[in-house]
Subunit: 485 residues, 2 copies
């Protein structure tokens, strides 16, 4: 068929209702407005609604509508079904868990990323996605004053859970594969146990053959004497020191900081030849953000084989954005590289490019560097420091109220912006207080078990970019009022 004759479309009858660029422009503006209105009105909503299980399902139809409902209906459902049944993580009264903070620049990054929708699995499948990521992670090496050996060796992961798992896989590859062991503390994040289960080191959360959890001091720091005994026990029982130790810099419970250098020193002392060959991973998922301030740099990182910290927690970059660095990428690539024919390409074969699919669990990946780039450039280093510093100052103010009030006690020293406290009247009273405080809908706090005695402990940690000092004052006022006599 000559090229200059029109060829009839063999499927002209089927025309999907794709949005034109102009339709998208109009609806996109409307959605941005919806988000802006949501942000502007967030303080007026309860942080958490009284949604009962099944409420949302009951409000949704059992089946997709037969005909498109139109966008007015979609926006109405966002207003009437979705928004009223969320826990509002960006609410100025959200002091629970660790924050998961969005920001204008972060959202703009997600819009750009969604619009481009490239898959950066290989350098060749989107060079700019790969090299921008390498670039901003190198900037962060400077911003957080990380060891120079991390330069060029960073990647964005979805979450710290994935970083911990990947570190474990690299540790196992470096140890030559097979049965390896992992030590962490009892206050380490649950994702360390989950990683051990996924990688096959433990058959259940309680399986302690190759996953050892070390006792902590009352404040949540790993007890190095207990650690040394556990490492020695592993050596005696399995013939090898742990292939990986996961140290926590800022535990989820109380924000405690493990002694990274001390861990390495104890292991070196036990190792034949005085040099432990295993992998020391540092999980600074939450507290690592504070290291952008000179007064909060992370100590002992020169002893770390890998590090993760999450800008999606406390550094204004929309979820998900976990930064992961390794000292030596060879073990990591050995653990995760597979190249089927359909992914072979000239750039990879020639070397000299990074294919980030070999640095992560999945194959495909979103262009997440954009949102971090936008956040860093919009705020600048001083803006980000101000964000961290005022939360810490506010938490210091809050801590002083707790200390000054005889009904309360601190469970552990304040760690950066995290204050852990309870009523002297005991667990039941503290639990009831938390329930009453959260029932106001004005604030939301969460709880943990005290590392020392396991007692019920309330956690207070600001993080939302919408939080102002008055919200902290109000939170304390509610707590003091609800604590009663």
């Amino acid at each position: 068929m000559p090229e200059n004759l029109p060829i009839p479309d063999p499927c002209a009858g089927h025309v999907p209702p794709h949005m034109t660029a102009e339709e998208f422009r109009s609806l996109g503006h409307r959605m941005v407005d919806w988000v802006a209105d949501y942000m502007a009105g967030l303080g007026e909503r309860p942080v958490k609604n009284a949604t009962r299980p099944g409420d949302v399902l009951a409000a949704l139809p059992d089946r997709l509508e037969d005909s498109a409902p139109g966008w007015d209906a979609v926006f109405r459902d966002l207003d009437e079904i979705v928004a009223p049944n969320l826990t509002h993580w960006q609410h100025p009264g959200f002091f629970a868990y660790f924050p998961c903070n969005a920001s204008g620049p972060g959202i703009l990054g997600e819009i750009a990323s969604a619009g481009l929708n490239v898959n950066g699995m290989l350098w060749a499948t989107s060079p700019a996605a790969t090299e921008l990521e390498t670039c901003v992670l190198d900037w962060c090496v400077d911003l957080f004053e990380l060891p120079d050996t991390f330069r060029g060796n960073g990647a964005i992961q979805g979450t710290a859970s994935e970083s911990t798992l990947i570190a474990l896989l690299a540790a196992r590859a470096r140890a030559g594969g097979g049965d390896v062991s992992l030590i962490t503390s009892r206050q380490a994040h649950s994702s360390v146990i989950k990683a051990a289960m996924i990688a096959g080191l433990a058959t259940s959360p309680e399986d302690r053959r190759r996953l050892r959890l070390v006792a902590t001091h009352d404040d949540g720091r790993m007890d190095l004497d207990c650690f040394e005994r556990e490492a020695q026990a592993l050596l005696d029982e399995t013939g090898a020191l742990p292939a990986m130790v996961s140290a926590t810099v800022g535990t989820t419970g109380t924000g405690a900081i493990d002694d990274v250098a001390g861990i390495r020193a104890r292991l070196d002392a036990l190792a034949p030849g005085g040099r432990w060959a295993g992998w020391l991973h540092v999980d600074a998922a939450w507290l690592g953000a504070a290291a952008i301030c000179p007064e909060h740099r992370l100590a002992g990182l020169e002893h770390a084989d890998s590090l993760c910290l999450n800008p999606h927690k406390w550094l204004l970059t929309n979820f998900d954005c976990d930064l992961f660095w390794v000292r030596d990428r060879a073990a990591l690539l050995r653990a995760l590289s597979i190249t089927p024919e359909y992914l072979r390409n000239a750039a990879t074969e020639a070397g000299g490019v990074i294919d980030y699919r070999d640095w992560q669990i999945p194959l495909g990946r979103r262009f997440r560097a954009l949102k971090l780039w936008f956040v860093l450039r919009h705020y600048g280093v001083e803006g980000l420091r101000a964000h961290i510093r005022r939360h810490i100052a506010w938490s210091e103010w809050f801590e002083q109220r707790v200390v000054a009030d005889g009904r309360f006690e601190l469970v552990a020293p304040r760690s950066a912006s995290l204050v852990c406290f309870r009523l002297r009247a005991g667990d039941d009273a503290t639990r009831a207080l938390l329930d009453r405080v959260n029932a106001t809908g004005e604030v939301l706090l969460s709880h943990t078990a005290a590392p020392g005695d396991g007692g019920f402990t309330i956690r207070f940690v600001p993080g939302s970019s919408l939080t102002e000092f008055r919200h902290v004052v109000r939170a304390w006022a509610i707590i003091a009022r609800e604590a009663g006599g």
Copy 2:
């Protein structure tokens, strides 16, 4: 301090430059416009640029600027550094890999999700995020005519890689943990091998003790006689049949479809008692999307323990969105559930809610159900079917050109919208043809190795929502021209 006196902010000097809702509104509109302009002009760009390794890094500064550059500079960098150095997956001439298709409704979903930025790790941390996800996955059980046992048992994962890994973990948990084996075909996706390495079944991609890759027919389908021999060999060598078999419905190479019912039947015949107790996972990552059409339903799913399919590939939902269902969630939860004190909550303890963190590798999760909900509602079932059907019709037209042209041969029968072909003149000629075709910048195709003889094979698969029939005609014209005499 009495509550009615103003309390001075202890950190009034540090004010981060947060965007106000109004600033976000204005910049959000601008970013939406940028995306709309990108979409509108995409056909005028080359699909893939001649970026050399290091070009992007060289265009970026070594360090974050000392002062905020302002958004004009950020948009300029998007235009001048980012966009010209991407591979444009949404380009109408993109026929490579499998598609990764965005759509207007999908992008709107990402905007809403980024604006809310809730963390749906637990039902309690955002009920609407959890229940909307359950709802739309149940809708999909109907839309794709999946077994009723999948109802209420679906979750959104990031990628099929994660689904395969999770299925393997569930299979191992069901088998009681410890050393288990996995069988798949040589044409299965590389993520199956990666999952085996992550879970500890294989120490390298070549380790075949507990990971067996079965030969395929020349078209890429698993050879069931070979499969049966491999299962018998495993039984003889390890004392157990595989704990998991991963069947592929639409291989990455040629779109071949494994016989799911036949796999189950062969295993049952080998099992003591006539009933294999292992886990049959079906990876329909790409082809599963077509099952929204009655003429493309997936066969044999009543024999599957789990299934994944990716709306982010061919169903207009922005990356990442992989749908994962299990028949029986108990093994999955046994493999992945850990509840530290800081995540305990009344709704979870009472039962009756889904906590999706127990269905996935990470703890935290984005609100990804929104974009799928928007896509389903905007397009409706007939709109999505039209999208699938016209791609298939276009590929059928393309296949006819290949068959009618004596210089070419099909490597395997067309599978839905995927056509695999090569020059009869051999591998070198075919490779050179692909290079010339892609060098035009008008289209991008990728390659694979023929399942039968390993020969160099060009893959053609449309997927972008911007592709029209004229782009398919143009692709063929370029290929026919560049093929020479």
